[in-house]
Symmetry: C2
Subunit: 192 residues, 2 copies
């Protein structure tokens, strides 16, 4: 048995090298040549996997493709939000170890350029999920709304999942959904 | 009586001139000099109000400051989400006419550079609202979650409000909140 794909392949080596360098010397002071060198590759090879330094922690469209496939394969009896929450609950940790995601989250939060890229990536994922919900018969405006809410639930659960090794993401998303249910339970007060 | 501030001042003239030019000749083909010229100003004056062309439709921090002030002044008896929804319901249309916001939304949606700026602006607003909720005693992770949900409700209501002149934003946000309440009403199915 060889190492898992991500442990052994060039793309994974570049991601781990970049994360390590961003942590130790900062995002701004790290060059593509340094990342490639630390991964045992030529600088040219870096650009086979990523268009630039900012993209190296946002590995392609793997997560987006996974989520869209999950929503498309979801039981037709599930509501839109159930289908989305189920898909999101399976997504994290499939491609990267939790330890990597935890460190990655810290590096992104500390670098405005990466935080902006993260926002745009999330919006791209939302855009990609909308047609999958529409094919389930959800009206486009409502699809986008349900996606925004599901991503908010995911965002609430993710840091707790990363910080608490004995939990599953699906379980913490269930808790966040319950928290939301309780927060919106009472109608908005009259007289607004 | 003079014209309302926004009708007469240089910043408002620049915004209207920019919107008109972005609509007729496109964002990419419009220069700062053209915007300033169409507003009857020198190019240099543009930079007194906006750092660059991309910023002209995202007028400073007026909306953010308004929302934070509203949340801070909200009745302490309101829950976090009630305080946020009330603040968001009063915010639109205060600074710009609905017609301007409708056209602005179309221009932003059609230009990736502006759509990215819009995402970042929204995240900035969320970041600014979090401390205001925390001062009301809301735990930081929960504050961010409630803000994400309130912004999702606002985003659901806004295009309908812009398209339907006989509505109020607060009324359409109430409808979106009811839609959310219904969408999350049933617990997630067992066996996840």
């Amino acid at each position: 048995m060889g190492m898992p794909r991500w442990e052994s392949d060039a793309q994974g080596r570049l991601e781990r090298a970049a994360l390590e360098l961003f942590e130790t010397q900062g995002f701004d002071r790290t060059s593509v040549a340094q990342i490639a060198g630390a991964a045992g590759l030529k600088e040219r090879s870096f650009y086979r996997y990523f268009p630039d330094k900012r993209e190296v922690l946002f590995a392609g469209d793997e997560l987006e493709a996974h989520l869209v496939a999950q929503v498309e394969a979801a039981d037709p009896g599930l509501t839109a939000i159930e289908a989305l929450l189920t898909a999101l609950g399976t997504a994290e940790g499939i491609f990267r170890p939790r330890e990597f995601l935890l460190r990655r989250g810290r590096v992104i939060a500390a670098n405005p350029a990466l935080a902006e890229r993260d926002l745009i990536k999330l919006a791209d994922i939302a855009d990609a999920l909308a047609p999958a919900l529409e094919r389930r018969g959800v009206e486009p405006g409502r699809a986008r709304f349900i996606i925004d809410v599901a991503l908010a639930i995911h965002r609430r659960a993710l840091p707790r999942w990363l910080a608490e090794p004995d939990t599953t993401l699906a379980q913490l998303m269930d808790e966040a959904a319950a928290e939301l249910r309780e927060a919106v339970a009472q109608p908005v007060p009259p007289g607004r």
